[in-house]
Amino acid sequence: MKPKTTAATNRALNNHERPALAKAPTGISGLDEITLGGLPRGRPTLVCGQAGCGKTLLSAEFLVRGVMQYDEPGVFIAFEETEEDLTKNVASLGYDLADLIRRKKLFIDYIRIERSEIEETGEYDLEGLFIRLAHAIDSVGAKRVVLDTIEAIFSGLPNDNILRAELRRLFRWLKDKGVTAIITAERGDGSLTRHGLEEYVSDCVILLDHRVKEQISTRRLRVVKYRGSTHGTNEYPFLIDEGGISVLPITSLGLGHTVAAERISSGIPSLDEMLGGKGYYRGSSILVSGMAGTGKTSLAAHFVQAACRRGERCIYFASEESPGQIVRNMRSVGLDLGAWSKNGLLRFEAARPSLHGLEMHLVKIHKLIEELKPKVVVFDPLTTFLSLGDKLETRSMLIRLIDFLKTRHITAIFNSLTEGGADQEQTEMGVSSLMDTWILLRSIETNGERNRLLYVLKARGIAHSNQVREFLLTDHGIELVDVYLGAEGVVTGSARMTQTAKEKATAQSRQENTERAQRELEHKRRALEAQITALRTQFDAETQELEKEISQQKQREQVLKNNRTQIAKLRGSNGPSSSKGASSARERE
């Protein structure tokens, strides 16, 4: 058994008592996951479907990849196309059959059966086919064989009984040869194949379907039966493009993905601030919802710009605007996405999903992501392709997409357009529960103008701000401003400016009042001081006056006293001393 057993294969095999069923990987992306390893090795597999559903291509890819990836040469027995046609047809998918034939890795035999040329005249068998097949297998040492479409022999040769017996012998012979074979067959009415080949090839049956629903065609693949092995039983959409076939087996994924604790900036510092200061978790899914013109694209573009600055690869899936338009519009808010697009970090992928249908669109998304391995993807807007299928279908597709992104640690922004009148906090498909972070953009109309608001509705695992911020688109990017919550609700825009101005005015007048009071106080103090000075001056003046009076009084008294002494002297009491006389006079007094 070749390598390439996934964990799932091992599990599936362990559940079986039988020895492990050897499988031959097809190399077709997705198919090996559905079949848990590939087609049954050494046995024939029936691939059936209507005309144009990709049977030949699937078979051809099985052979080519067998040669290129697993070094297993192959034989293609074509009943419907000539070697040249086949080579030409698959060349459009990038396969060079001619080269493989030259290198003796591939052998193509075209078997043409013309009923009109053939007359049956008795017993015959298909030994000729066996010989050709054996010759083809031996000439390249083939391990893989394709018979496309063997049912052609029923229309080309008479006598169904002989043919049936010979086919039975052929499939047994193929098993004995040990080649892994694909037998293709046309879908019949009410049965898998027109000629009941499923009776003979019963190990593995793969049904291809090509349905048109609402004018959109989708190819689907289903493993109807796989004897001895578990397999994905759903219908899986598949895509045929320049790289061959890709099947989308995403429902097989579980929720076992690892998570990163790393945080990455949203590209808007103030939004990072609202998200606990560090931004989103790496690998998380972010839903940005809002009505038309609320700035969803700008928000996503900031994130892209930040990622590109970190040197991370981004893919921008635009489903409503052309890349040129986005680049131009984002330039007006100061973002130069064109430069990143030019140096290859940013890849725009613009297509209307209605072009391919929802599933095809998602298959393409998958392919591109697998190919470019981006760190960041943006879906702008998600709503366009949610509107395509029915609710259940789109929701399951979206779950697959998100799971897929998470297992690859890709941070994704989904922009969702909310219809006017719809509940703002509800998204079309109820996708919000799938998202880790939900940023709500609203626009409110007041005073004859619309203003944008941003609110982090949820952010799993992040201590996020509970504040509503006003969201401004300036020529140098997004700015978040605190809004005013007044009595009449949230105040934004020019009303906010008015409010700011008003508050400024109030503050100013308050300040003026204070200043005036202070001035008054000063004034009063000065007045008081002046009064005090005046009073003191007056007091001083009065004091001086009084002192002067007092001294005058004293002087006068002295004079009087002197006079009295003089008089007493004069009266003749010749006292021994005038002083004595004076003192006795004082005593008398």
Binding site: D109, I111, R112, I113, E114, E117, I118, E119, E120, T121, G122, E123, Y124, D125, L126, E127, G128, L129, F130, I131, R132, A134, H135, I153, G156, L157
Partner: protein, 105 residues
């Protein structure tokens, strides 16, 4: 009797019939076909024919040229157009119709 390759039973210059009988080994079916063919040619073509017997077991690559799938297959290469008759040629009527020696009724 052995089946020889390129066995020439008869040759004539005017209106040459070239018939190839493809077989896969000496199976009862191929032997029957060969003897039936010889009988029919002797009866209806009178020395104007040549029969090449090709054993695909020996030359498997020759099956491609005449687009052989069933054996035994008798191919009328000349006169044109090419006709193919499969089976052991036991139904003489059908062989004659197939070789355009008798008109279809």
């Amino acid at each position: 009797m052995a089946l020889a390759k390129n066995m020439k039973l008869s040759e004539t210059q005017d209106e040459q019939w070239i018939l190839r009988l493809y077989v896969a080994g000496q199976t009862p079916k191929s032997l029957t076909a060969f003897s039936n063919l010889k009988k029919i040619c002797a009866e209806h073509l009178h020395n104007k024919y040549r029969i090449d017997v090709i054993d695909l077991l020996e030359n498997p690559q020759l099956a491609r040229g005449d687009q052989i799938l069933a054996v035994p297959t008798l191919v009328r290469n000349l006169p044109e157009p090419v006709r193919k008759i499969i089976g052991d040629l036991s139904n003489t009527e059908k062989v004659l119709v197939g070789l355009d020696l008798r008109s279809r009724s």
